[in-house]
Symmetry: D3
Subunit: 153 residues, 6 copies
């Protein structure tokens, strides 16, 4: 099972997670969340998360400590599958800006464009052809942005 995390990050999280539960402070959960986001986001912090810190500090904490540090760092599901399942959930509920972010993370950790397309094809069944079309348009934007990045200047 391919890990979502680089070996160093994985080792870091293993150490943190091995600590007794009583020692899982908010600080440690935030650190783990930060490691997860950097692993998903090519070593960078997540801009929307950074913007939230000033006006919505609790929501930034919930995102980093809970969503990333608690949920996304769990070892029981490989990162590729988690990203594809998240893309499915965001597409099916029409939350397309989040789908785009998570599809980008998926590409970053080695999911192929073809696999993302297959998840969108599948979405026609639980959520309708229209939801899949809308998602496909956002994926096309993402794919074009990535091609632009790779283009020599």
């Amino acid at each position: 099972m391919q890990s979502m995390l680089t070996p160093i990050t994985a080792a870091l999280i293993a150490v943190i997670t091995a600590a007794p539960a009583v020692a899982q402070s908010v600080e440690e959960r935030l650190k783990r969340g930060d490691a997860v986001i950097r692993d998903l986001n090519r070593g960078q912090p997540q801009p929307a998360l950074e913007r939230m810190r000033q006006e919505f500090p609790f929501l930034a904490e919930a995102t980093e400590a809970y969503a990333l540090g608690d949920v996304w760092a769990r070892p029981g599901l490989d990162g590729r599958t988690r990203q594809l399942a998240a893309v499915a959930a965001f597409a099916a509920t029409g939350q397309l800006p989040f789908m785009k972010v998570h599809a980008g993370y998926a590409l970053n950790i080695g999911v192929s464009e073809e696999e993302l397309k297959e998840v969108i094809y599948m979405i026609t069944v639980p959520a309708g052809i229209s939801r899949a079309i809308a998602a496909s348009q956002v994926l096309s934007e993402l794919f074009a942005e990535r091609r632009d990045e790779r283009r020599p200047r």
Copy 2:
């Protein structure tokens, strides 16, 4: 990449799919859908699908020829990932009877209970803790039914 399909089914579908597009008749798509459903459902037809045939024949055809024969038979995504992504989409949109059916298919093709639980944990982020709790209750029912089946009488 683990196939969703048994080797014989996979071979059968390969033959059908290799046929020129013009030859992909409704009949062939229905056959492929039937092969998919039997592979997911331990060799059995799907009872709800069978009940639809009399009063909603077109919807039964759409399910079998399109959803199963066209979408679910596609080779670009392994069956385990497709089932986990489908479970995520059904849970996030609150379609729990369908989530249960597809979680059952997931177990049938080798997904573990732990992986299904991880998808439900992930669902707290795009769809809320309450949607995840509701999904967990339906998964618990499924797991209990499977334990009952395995119990010697």
Copy 3:
């Protein structure tokens, strides 16, 4: 264009509607709503509406005066089309008990079972095959109940 209303009811509403706007009291809107519901419901009051009157009097009033008396009594759309569009909206949003009630009204004013099925087939496109399957199962219940009613005893 077939009217949703019997000629007598239609005449009654025409008289009420012709009254100056200032005279459109809640009482008159309630009377119009009562006429609409009896027209849709084979001359009977709607049981769920009656039960709401005691504990949720304002919601019963909103249903009767606004939903039925204002919206459903509007002359610009024939009753059959309004019922089929309402069935589509309830099915697409997963509000199946309401879909069943409105599909029953549709049958009462002359919509055929076949037309209801076609709306459900269409729902696969905006809302998914699963939403359509769930709706088809509720329609099958309704059709069976109607056959039971017609059966000689």
Copy 4:
């Protein structure tokens, strides 16, 4: 319990509401709705409502007479709580332009930015962290617009 309405508006509505039900004409309900919107919107009419009047007159009437004149004018819930509950409902269902309008009304009648933030934090539980993040971004826009308004020129 702080009223949503200024004393004069409240007195006006009390007089209208005390009239016998039979006298609650559409005209009176529209007047009451107009009083409510001006109270929520710093004495101004609501621009989107005004634009609707020409092409969608019935919908403008439903908004003004029913939503504002009937529902929002009810005395059983203080205005601050109704606005916060409305913000929760709009955020949870992803209707963010309406959430922004109603959050603005909330600020206008004395709800604090902090209380609005707390409702958004709460939304993570029924609707997901992503829905709350999307809502927080729209609230940040609103807060910035209000700061701009207060800035001396």
Copy 5:
């Protein structure tokens, strides 16, 4: 009952549909879908569908062969009613870009602006006044675009 299709298209589809099921190849379904879209779209192909063909070929096929060729070509519902029911479903689920496209098709096949407005008024009941307001704003855009097209230059 007014057909959604021009007589020539209807005749063409009748011939195709009369062919034995086994002969309903993907190619034939695509042709039928193409005939449907041209009938709805004033003889033109659908631009979004064309853009999908390159990156999401299966989704383009699903749209053309399944949604248009299988569902929308069914003879059991007249085209005007199908369009109004589709508009209701897209409006109720907040899929407004698709609502706009299908409301445009509705106008193209003879549905009046008034009938579209009535469907939106009805949507207040299953989906809320806010969903109807949002839909009304998109319909107003569409109506304005059509007026611009008709204006002499």
Copy 6:
């Protein structure tokens, strides 16, 4: 402003919250969540939460440490308003079993039946009359259960 918490619980939470963030271990968050649930639930643990502990331990932890211990224990919103906003969000999204639980908590901390009804009336605007009717039926069940409890035997 009435607190959601009894004085003793509030004091307990104040002590825990005053501790430096680094000391906010999972254990402390769970204790705070347990205090919140007992305050909402008449001193009792929440049965559904208890059942989750065995098969979905992480989801039980997320519910207790995050939803209850982090979100629901926040001091910036009084408990009555948070419950009414939560009831609005659950009703608007059709999550009625959760709406019932949270409406019960609302009654436990002093919200009146009338206030709950007003929130449901309001829900007609963002979510439709049908969603409000469905919610009203569940509230009627809850009110009846409470009357049964108070009845001498």
